[in-house]
């Protein structure tokens, strides 16, 4: 006969899985049933008593085994709960790790940007270094300016001296000319006087 709610092969499968080789509780229960029947049909009092004891021991063995299975079942349930808890924790930490990864990726991008900026700065700095320092160039410019001023002063003073000398020479030359003129005039005058005198001598008085 087959139970109305369980398909026969399922039951057989389950029973085979649990206790296929027949060397366990199933066998014990079968033996108990057989020994119960034997005990009912037993003859002497002693045999019956020993049979009875034997049956009690088998029963207690069965109870013990059942108790063990119940405890194992309980333990499994609790293990399952424990695993569920750990599973949830791990899920949480995975989500946290994902967020951290995203955060770190952003930081990497930021760091790359900073590195790029630094390198651009370095590149420009190198070029700028090749040009001389602004302070020095300004100082050089100042020094050159001062020299220029100094030299132009000297030039001015030299030109003034030149002017003065020129004027002095001019005065000198004009004085010489005047003297020359005066001397020539005097010579001419004396020549004329001489000529007059000789003409008087040549021409005797009437």
């Amino acid at each position: 006969f087959s139970l109305p709610f369980f398909p026969a092969d399922e039951v057989i499968r389950k029973r085979l899985l649990i206790d296929g080789d027949g060397a366990g509780d199933d066998r014990r229960i079968n033996l108990l049933v057989k020994s119960f029947i034997k005990w009912c049909n037993s003859g002497s009092q002693e045999e019956g008593y020993s049979q009875y004891q034997r049956m009690l021991s088998t029963l207690s063995q069965c109870e013990f085994s059942m108790g063990k299975t119940l405890l194992v079942y309980d333990m499994n349930l609790r293990e399952m709960e424990n695993y569920e808890k750990i599973y949830k924790e791990i899920e949480g930490s995975i989500a946290g790790a994902h967020e951290k990864i995203a955060e770190c990726k952003k930081q990497i991008l930021q760091a790359k940007r900073i590195r790029k900026n630094r390198q651009e700065y370095d590149a420009l700095a190198k070029v700028i270094q090749h040009h001389p320092d602004r302070h020095e160039t300004l100082k050089e410019l100042e020094a050159l300016g001062k020299e220029l001023e100094h030299l132009s002063h000297i030039k001015e003073s030299v030109e003034d001296k030149l002017e003065l000398r020129r004027k002095q020479f001019h005065v000198l030359l004009s004085t010489i000319h005047e003297l020359q003129q005066t001397l020539e005039n005097d010579e001419k005058l004396s020549e004329v006087e001489e000529a007059q005198e000789t003409s008087l001598e040549m021409d005797p008085k009437p």
Binding site: R113, R115, K116, Q119, A123, L124, V127
Partner: protein, 317 residues
């Protein structure tokens, strides 16, 4: 095969690559990066013939893929591009001075503030095209030889262009005039006359600009027009970009070089192509799982770097 250009879709999940045969291939980055990626995920979802000549440059707006190469710029709708037999939405050609030879377009640049596209290439001019009306608004003249690359200076609406004539020119978009010129080859520290004076790649970070090509890869401070750091790389670099605190560059040679602004080489990551021509960083906010660096060049492969330190895998045309 040579892959010249790459562009990421606005949703961040697809990558378009253009090659020298004029084809554009669309790869699905989300499929190739997913955990169930198979070999087919590394092949293009769709490939189509876009131009008659090589596709030198591509950019993406929030709805369109713009590609240019043989003198024309074409627009493709990203929403339709995965269907077979996709047709271009529109095609435009900037007003060229001579109609005999159509010069190629080497570089495209989007200016989001004024919703316009800048094209530059063989005719030595920068043309601005308004994306809404399709009209060509400005033609900036100044370069004496063809233009290789463009970069946008976000804060002030300025565009930098580098060309074969060895000069990097800064154009103010409001006045349509040249604001600054840096003739890289004239500076002794970075010029390498045996390589030529051409500027192959350009990138800017508002106050700083890095450029390379014939002359050595150099970091410039724009306001004072002084070269501050010279990166000791012998091979001419074809693509350079700023990324976080690094400068990534690639060119002849199969490695992507990671430089610090101080001039130190932080890392050299090998790729699978013998030379690299373009790098693309997928930083679209809509697809953070597809945040990769892709590199392509003188081969049919596009290397994908999920972590900048090593090549994860390669997509193949």
């Amino acid at each position: 095969m040579t892959i010249f250009s790459q562009s990421v879709s606005p949703c961040g999940k697809f990558l378009a690559a253009g090659n020298n045969y004029g084809q554009i291939a669309i790869f699905s980055l989300s499929a190739a990066l997913s955990s169930e990626a198979k070999e087919e995920s590394k092949k293009p979802v769709v490939t189509f013939q876009a131009h008659d000549g090589p596709v030198y440059s591509m950019v993406s707006t929030d709805r369109h893929l713009l590609s240019a190469g043989d003198g024309e710029v074409k627009a493709w709708l990203w929403a339709e591009i995965l269907k077979k037999g996709c047709k271009e939405m529109w095609r435009r050609q900037p007003p060229y001075r001579t109609s005999l030879e159509v010069p190629e377009i080497n570089a495209l640049l989007l200016v989001p503030k004024e919703n316009s596209l800048i094209l530059a290439g063989g005719d030595c001019q920068l043309h601005t095209m308004d994306l809404e009306t399709g009209a060509f608004t400005r033609a900036l003249r100044g370069h004496t030889d063809y233009i290789h690359c463009l970069a946008l200076r976000e804060r002030s609406p300025e565009v930098l262009s580098g060309g074969e004539d060895g000069a990097v020119r800064l154009w103010d978009l409001r006045t349509a005039k040249e604001a600054q010129t840096i003739e890289v080859y004239k500076h002794e520290e970075c010029s390498r006359p045996h390589n030529g004076r051409w500027i192959g790649c350009l990138a800017t970070d508002s106050d700083w600009m890095v450029c390379g090509g014939g002359p050595a890869l150099t970091l410039w401070h724009l306001r004072s027009s002084t070269p501050t750091t010279i990166f000791p790389m012998r091979a001419p670099q074809k693509h350079v970009t700023f990324y976080q605190d690094l400068i990534l560059s690639a060119g002849q040679g199969h490695c992507i070089n990671h430089w610090q602004l101080s001039g130190e080489l932080k890392a050299q990551v090998p790729g699978s192509s013998p030379g690299l021509l373009s790098l693309s960083l997928n930083q679209q906010p809509a697809a953070p799982e597809c945040k990769v660096l892709t590199a392509a060049g003188n081969s049919c492969r596009v290397d994908v770097f999920t972590n900048l330190g090593y090549r994860a895998f390669s997509l193949s045309f």
